[in-house]
């Protein structure tokens, strides 16, 4: 059970065994998180899944050739078939009408089938060394020993330094293929390097989480980091931190509880962080988006009310007359409840004044209403004059744009149209002077 002593024991890394597992898991998680960012940005998230299933036949072939579980043979085989699956997906999508996702699903399941077939053949062959080979399926981070740590950790470091070394080229082929072509970058070569690094990260990561969950090690931290930043360096850093943290958390959970697998817990921690980010991330999170939408709808409501006041004033030649809710409802189809709310907000802002059951525009309110009407009419005129939109089509568009246009754009619009007196319906365009 969890108690303080347990946590201290774990964090102090006193036991050599724990030290290897924790260090190894962190390195593997960081390497796959970082390389995963590029896979995600290049819209190749699912190819990762195909690679991770496809390493299985390679592992088996490596074992069959060497007859032992020599990690170099296993990793070599894994990387070979992993890379082949990328190549096949590329060939299938290029030379037939089959789409990428079908090609990916086909590749991963067939490669995996071959892997299972070889695995069962090995199992039935009775080679005494084969025990533990099936650990590749679900991963066995908890049994990592020193030599594993050195091999896998070393390769993870290789992946990380590969990304650092070719960072600029990888950025180019991820974001701006055309520019990369123009400056004469050897795209084929760098795509190859990136795919080799990806395959390498997958091949070593399989040890920790197994074939099926490997995709999460690359995709989830990258997709999570995407919520927090638009800057690639930051994204790599955030993904790496999430990777390291989840690695430690997974190792800790399996250390503390009996029989708890490390890999699946790492993935669960990943997913929890991803869901939390999706909900709470500033700007891109669901809450932030919802809040922004709410604010926008407030603003649109307020704008529409002020506009209605202005239209009424224009019609009757008196902008500062008292209006009732019914007056406004007769002019425009407001929903009563929302209209009352809007009037309440506007009163709080002192753009209108609430007197008994009536409402009056304040000076500021009149100016605000005037501005919206001005933008609306200017925009209609602009659409008609420059884009040759028919008269009866301009209103709806102006109705949307009037809430969005900034003072700078407004000024440009006025200059461009040379401060027209009237719009195409011969309505006066009001200017504030």
């Amino acid at each position: 059970m969890v108690d303080i002593q347990n946590i201290i024991d774990f964090l102090s890394l006193k036991e050599a065994n724990v030290r290897y597992v924790v260090l190894g898991t962190i390195l593997l998680s960081v390497a796959s998180s970082v390389i995963g960012c590029f896979a995600l940005l290049r819209k190749r998230a699912l190819i990762v899944d195909s690679i991770s299933h496809s390493v299985l036949p390679g592992v088996c072939i490596g074992f069959m050739i060497s007859g032992t579980k020599d990690p170099l043979f296993l990793l070599g085989g894994a990387m070979l078939t992993g890379w082949l699956s990328i190549y096949f997906i590329d060939i299938i999508t290029r030379y037939s009408k089959i789409k990428a996702d079908t090609a990916i699903g086909l590749n991963l399941s067939v490669f995996f089938a071959v892997g299972i077939l070889l695995l069962t053949i090995i199992q039935n062959s009775g080679n005494p060394n084969q025990s533990g080979l099936s650990d590749f399926l679900f991963g066995k981070a908890a049994t990592m020993v020193e030599s594993d740590m050195l091999t896998f950790g070393g390769m993870a470091l290789l992946v990380i330094s590969g990304v650092a070394l070719f960072y600029k080229q990888f950025v180019l082929i991820s974001f701006d293929m055309n520019f990369a072509k123009t400056i004469g970058l050897n795209i084929k070569f760098y795509e190859f390097v990136l795919s080799i690094l990806t395959v390498m990260a997958v091949a070593i990561g399989i040890q920790t989480v197994g074939v099926v969950l490997m995709a999460a090690m690359l995709i989830t931290p990258a997709a999570t980091a995407r919520y927090w930043t638009d800057n690639l360096r930051m994204m790599l850093l955030i993904a790496a931190v999430i990777g390291a943290f989840s690695g430690i958390a997974g190792a800790f959970i399996s250390y503390t509880y009996d029989n708890m697998p490390t890999g699946p817990w790492i993935v669960i921690v990943f997913s929890l962080i991803a869901i939390a980010s999706m909900i709470f991330a500033p700007r891109k999170g669901i809450v932030a988006k919802w809040f922004r939408q709410k604010q926008n709808s407030y603003k649109i409501m307020e704008d529409n009310i002020l506009k209605a006041f202005y239209h009424l004033g224009e019609k009757e030649g008196d902008f500062y007359k008292k209006r009732t809710v019914e007056d406004l409802m007769n002019l425009r189809k407001f929903e009563r409840g929302r209209l009352l709310n809007g009037l309440k907000w506007l009163s709080a802002e002192n753009t209108i004044v609430h007197i008994n059951d009536t409402y009056v525009l304040s000076k500021r309110g009149k100016a605000a209403g005037e501005r919206i009407v001005r933008i609306h009419r200017l925009w209609e005129l602009y659409l008609k004059k420059y884009l040759r939109v028919a008269d009866d089509h301009v209103h709806d568009d102006a109705e949307t744009i009037e809430h969005i246009i900034t003072p700078e754009l407004e000024l440009q619009l006025e200059k461009l149209l040379d401060y027209p007196e009237e719009d195409q319906h011969n309505k006066k365009i009001p200017y504030s002077k």
Partner: protein, 260 residues
Amino acid sequence: MAMVGDAISHSVLPGIVIAFMMGGKLGSWYLLVGAAVFGIITTFLIEFFNKKGGMQHDATIGVVFTSLFALGIILVTVYARDVDIDQDCVLYGELDHVAIEDGVHLSGLIIPYTVIRLSVMLLCVIALVIIGYRGLFLTTFDAAYAATIGISVMSWHYILMAAVSLSTVLSFGSVGAILVVAFLITPPATAYLLTDKLKQMIFLSVLFGITGSIIGYYFATAIDGATSAAIASVLGMQFIVVFVWKVVEKRFSRKETVAQ
């Protein structure tokens, strides 16, 4: 949609384990319900993460199915003692055990329960395809048109996904969670290389499925490997043969046109 099928086949696992924990056995109704529920949850989550959460679509699929699969594996390990299910069964099923399993005795012949269950599923799927052909056809090829003539695209989407989850879970005990994807995707993909017509495609993919299973069975016996994996490998071989043939044919006809 191919990868959504893949995602579902993985993410029904927690549903199956929970059903097992509630006392279900392989093939019982509990399992079907558990799997169908998780299949629909998967479809819904993918949709939700993408539309509301703003996550890149391919990443959504990866994130959702790995989380649910991880959850399933954790449940399997924790309740392994109480539950008659293990990790191997998840991966490649127990098709080879069907022959020694008990079943309905019919005039001296024993028909294993698995065979009966899968036959029922086959009939259901055939019925769905025949009855729902128009709806499936329209929503697959022209969702916008289907919507204008009043066919609910959303319901057909969920019906199809529920059918995929049910087929997956019923095949689960026989071929395992990952290999079932090979059975779902490979024969149709091979057929699709050969034709553009849906009816022909369905017919051809059934043909590839049957021949692949027969060849695969004897292949497995010959090399002493798992039957389900051997069948999936043969299905893959069929695809490669047809693919290469198509590419060569295209090259050839292009050369002919150039020569003319």
